[in-house]
Structure formats: C-alpha cells, structure tokens
Symmetry: C2
Subunit: 315 residues, 2 copies
C-alpha cells in the first residue's frame, strides 16, 4: 500500500468522518517531560477511529457487493463502526455478536442500523455464523483489523495528525488487532520527517511484542486486561507492515493503564477508553527515552460504560 | 460596560487564555430537535471559564496594586483561577478557604501558586479573614462574580462562540453567582444577531429565577444541589445586566442535571461538571421552545472528583 493509496483513501472517506481535534496540555507536558499532541479519535463518529477503516472498506466494494451487504463478527467498536458506515452508504451490515454481549453494545449497533445475529460466545460459533451469512446473502466479510482497506482507513488519523504537526518525533498508538498501528506506521512512513511509530500494549496481552521478537504471529494465552479493545491478535495483512515500520512496542501494567486513563480524564477533560490510555502509559513508563521530544498520541476511542470505570473505588 | 470594553478585555486576556473549541454532535442535535454548539470551557486553563474573569481583573489593577497582591474567598474554581492568573502575571494571590475544603481543591490552588489561608467554614469567617489580608498586605479583594472586570472577562467565552457561529438564536449558560450569564448576555447583546441569552438554574438554588420575578436580589434558603458551582447568589453588579439582557431562566430538577451530565460524557466524550450540565438540562426540559433553533451552550467547567460522580450507582 503506497503513499498515493493512503491519500486516495483519505479523500474517499472524508465526507463520512470527522477530522478530529488535537488537544495539548501544559500540565501533561510537564508530567511527561515532552510535548504531547493528543489526536482525539474518541470524538470520531461512533466514538472511535474504527469508523475510518469501516468506511474505506465498504467504499472499496463493487456496486454488486454493496447490494449484497457486509458482515463482520465483533462485539466492540468495529461492530458499531461497520453499522454506521454501512448506514451512511446505504448498505446492509450484518453483525455477528455473542449472545452474552452487553445490552448497551447491542443497542448501539442497532441504533446505527446494524442487523444483529446472535451466536454462542466462542470464536468457532462466530466464524461459522459469519460464513452462513456470507453464503445466504452473498455478503462480503470485513475483518476489523486484518484487511488492507481497513488498515489504510485507520492510517488517515495519523495522516491528519502529521498534516497539523509535521515535525513530530514519534507517534504512539495502542496495539490490539494491529489495524491502527499498521495504518499509522504507513502514515508516519509517508508523511513524517524522521518520525517513528511506537506501540503501547498491556503486559497481559503482549502478543504483538512477542510477535516482533519471534518474527511470527503469536497468540495470547490470557486476556486479563482492562483494555478490552486490545484483546484481539495480529493478522497476516498487518503484521508485515508492523515488522517493517514500527520501531518497538512498550508493554505496560494494568495499574499504569488505569492511572494514565485517569490522567487523561482529569487533565485533558475528555472521556477515553482504557485501551486509549495504553499509549500514554507507555510514554510515562519510558519517560527518559522520550525526553523533550514531540509525541503524537492517538486517543483511539471513548466508548466506555460509565457505570463501570476502572478507577472507581467501588468497581 | 460597552462593546469596546468587551473587545479591549478580550485582546488584553488573549495571551493568558485558550480560545476553547466548539463541539457538535448529530446525536445530541437529534435528541434536542435543535442544533447545539457546545463551547468547551472545561478545556480552558485550570478547567473552567473563571480563568477569563480572573485574568482580566488582575490585569486591570495598577502596578502598585499588583505589587500588593490579590485576595479572594472561594473553595471552588475561582480560587484556582485567581491563583493561576496571578501566577501567570507575577502577582501574589491569597485564597481564603474553609478548613474543611476538600484536600484535592487545596492541592489544586497550591499547584497554581495560590497562598491558602484557612478559616472556619462560615461566610462571616471568610469575609473577616479576607479583610485581614486586605489590611495586612494592602491586597486587592476580587469577587468571584460580582465585579465588572470579572463579568467582562467571563463574557469573552460568548464572544468567541459568536465569532465562530454568528447566527446563533440563543446562548444558554448555567447561573450561579451571575458573572458568567451577565458577561455572556453582554457578548450576545453586542455580537449576536437577534440572539438571546437564557439561563439554566437548579430548582434547589433558584435565586436568580426568583430575583428576576421579584425585581430584587433574592437569596437561597437551601443549597441542596449536585451542581455545586451554582450555590452562590447574584450581586448588585451583575443583577442589573441580567435584568436588562437575559430573556429568562429555566429551572431544572436534580435528576435532569445528572441525566444531562451523563449525556454530555457519553455523547460528546468530554468531562464536565454537574453545573455545566444545567444548561443542556434546561434545553431538554423545554425542547418545544427551542425546536430547530441554533443554540450555543456554555460548558462552564470540567473539574470533578472522579471518585464521586453523581451518576455512579454506588455514589
């Protein structure tokens, strides 16, 4: 995927996404010993960067494919993103969700016009159900992170950030399925000046960290993290990009994630997901490495359950 | 206070304040049946619009007055605002706070360089202590809301909002001590086109509502509201402006405040104080009156205790 493809992708999806604001804070800068530029994808449509990739993936389909609709399996932000992007483009979106997904997530998908298909809460059941829908309707399966069009779409957040601040030294993103960091790494390679991409990842789900070490895609044996958006694993489309363009991945503890999340809420006055706080946690963990540098930070999303916040005493 | 004074005030304080962003949300617009433009003073320095008035009040002092410092009594945002504005301008700020003020508020004031003077938690003790400091140091007392320079400063938020969206039909603010709504009403009168100012106020502290009815400044017998920034009452400097320029005040219940606050957090993805939510609560309570209108909403501040949120189940 070359520079021109990323430019074309951005032009294509512009009518369907927000160019989200970039926030700064003197107090945060002092605390980090660096200059931080927070790209607020929590203000993106449906509340996360996933809207970008979903819109691009649907827009790349043929008219015939669009008529038959799209399908994905997700209980997270991509379910909402595909639903809203499909609705905006007049396309049907089938969303395979586990029966036990929280009602609030099902309501959100339905609110954006997605057609929910419930299944047993196993990966096998999700994949089986998706296949059924592909066969029944001729719907196109769109993967939340391991898809070239999705990766390019996610990269447009980094592109916007670098257009506003071309002299960033690093862009730091959380790492889950790998779509955001791969897309960002492409944007940094094409639009940065001596800029590097770094990932933040919970110790509890450090598949990307281990994958970069071993040179092959590793899985997670446990997924015991509050950063619930980062439980997924890398794929064969995004891993090569990450290998080529990401400098390194910094792992953080659960305590560091919660404390970084609280800082973002208290100091930036914005609502972000635990997953988003992983990037800031990585910076604060390795302050010396980033001293006096200009750091772009992707705040990936803001869809949280306000009744269950990790820093609440009674949680 | 004429138009030119408001323009001069804005130019004067610009180096010390942020021109805060204005956020919009399709979902919020649908819910309200109107177009909403949220002026995010929660992103202001120290987290609230109060920075504007504090900066202007100090900058209006003579050099001699500045040398002797300033004093106020407040346990809320104005304590932080005066401290930070004074620090930015190289002036000493004495802050009289009740002994029992939360530690987090004392820490914030000290963090901004304010000198805390503790007193008994009564209005008499606060006023007595302030007087002592005025006499001892020759410090100038600056009232949080009943001061012309403060009122003008607070008006610059509305001025910025109207510069960005000149065709607003209404600007709605919360009403506490009256500084914000009086300043906003001046900005609306000078920079709006057929635009009107409306206040939102909790039923529990509806002194402004009753004052407008009776034509004289009324007090509150109880202050049992979650909107803790709105417990103060109007004064003789801001009341005449409110009488002349504010169309009306809409009262809201505690439930409406908490539910509007939750909406702002969930939909706009920003952290705001309960007091800030009163303006949105007023709009949602009287939807029919605002149908299809363009509404500016001042989100007054974002300093909340994340351990005690009013919509938390265990609060």
């Amino acid at each position: 995927m070359d520079k021109q493809q990323l430019i074309d992708c951005h032009e294509r999806i512009k009518p369907f996404i927000h160019n989200t604001p970039v926030l700064t804070s003197h107090l945060m800068d002092e605390m980090a010993g660096a200059q931080l530029f927070f790209k607020c994808e929590n203000f993106q449509r449906m509340g996360a960067f996933k809207m970008r990739g979903a819109a691009n993936a649907i827009m790349q389909l043929t008219e015939g494919q669009k008529r038959n609709g799209v399908v994905t399996h997700s209980s997270g932000n991509f379910a909402q993103a595909l639903s809203l992007a499909a609705q905006s483009l007049g396309v049907k979106a089938h969303i395979v969700m586990p029966k036990n997904a929280p009602q609030v997530k099902k309501d959100a998908v339905r609110g954006y016009g997605g057609i929910i298909v419930e299944c047993e809460p196993t990966l096998q059941a999700r994949e089986h159900e998706s296949k059924q829908i592909e066969e029944k309707y001729g719907a196109t399966f769109i993967h939340p992170s391991n898809d070239d069009a999705v990766i390019l779409g996610q990269g447009t957040a980094g592109k916007e950030l670098l257009e506003l601040h071309p002299d960033l030294d690093y862009v730091i993103t959380p790492v889950g399925g790998g779509g955001l960091i791969a897309g960002t790494a492409l944007a940094v390679a094409y639009f940065g000046k001596n800029c590097k991409t770094i990932g933040g990842e919970p110790f509890e789900v450090d598949d990307a960290y281990r994958s970069l070490l071993s040179g092959t895609i590793e899985g997670n044996t446990t997924i015991n993290t509050t950063a619930d958006g980062l439980k997924t694993q890398l794929g064969d489309r995004n891993f090569p990009i990450i290998q080529k363009h990401v400098e390194r991945i910094i792992r953080v503890t659960e305590e560091e994630i919660v404390s970084a999340m609280r800082l973002i809420w208290e100091r930036l006055k914005i609502v972000c997901e635990p997953s988003s706080a992983v990037a800031l946690a990585a910076i604060l963990r390795e302050k010396e490495a980033f001293k006096n540098q200009k750091l772009g930070v992707i705040i990936s999303g803001g869809n949280v359950d306000l009744d269950h916040l990790p820093f609440q005493k009674n949680f």
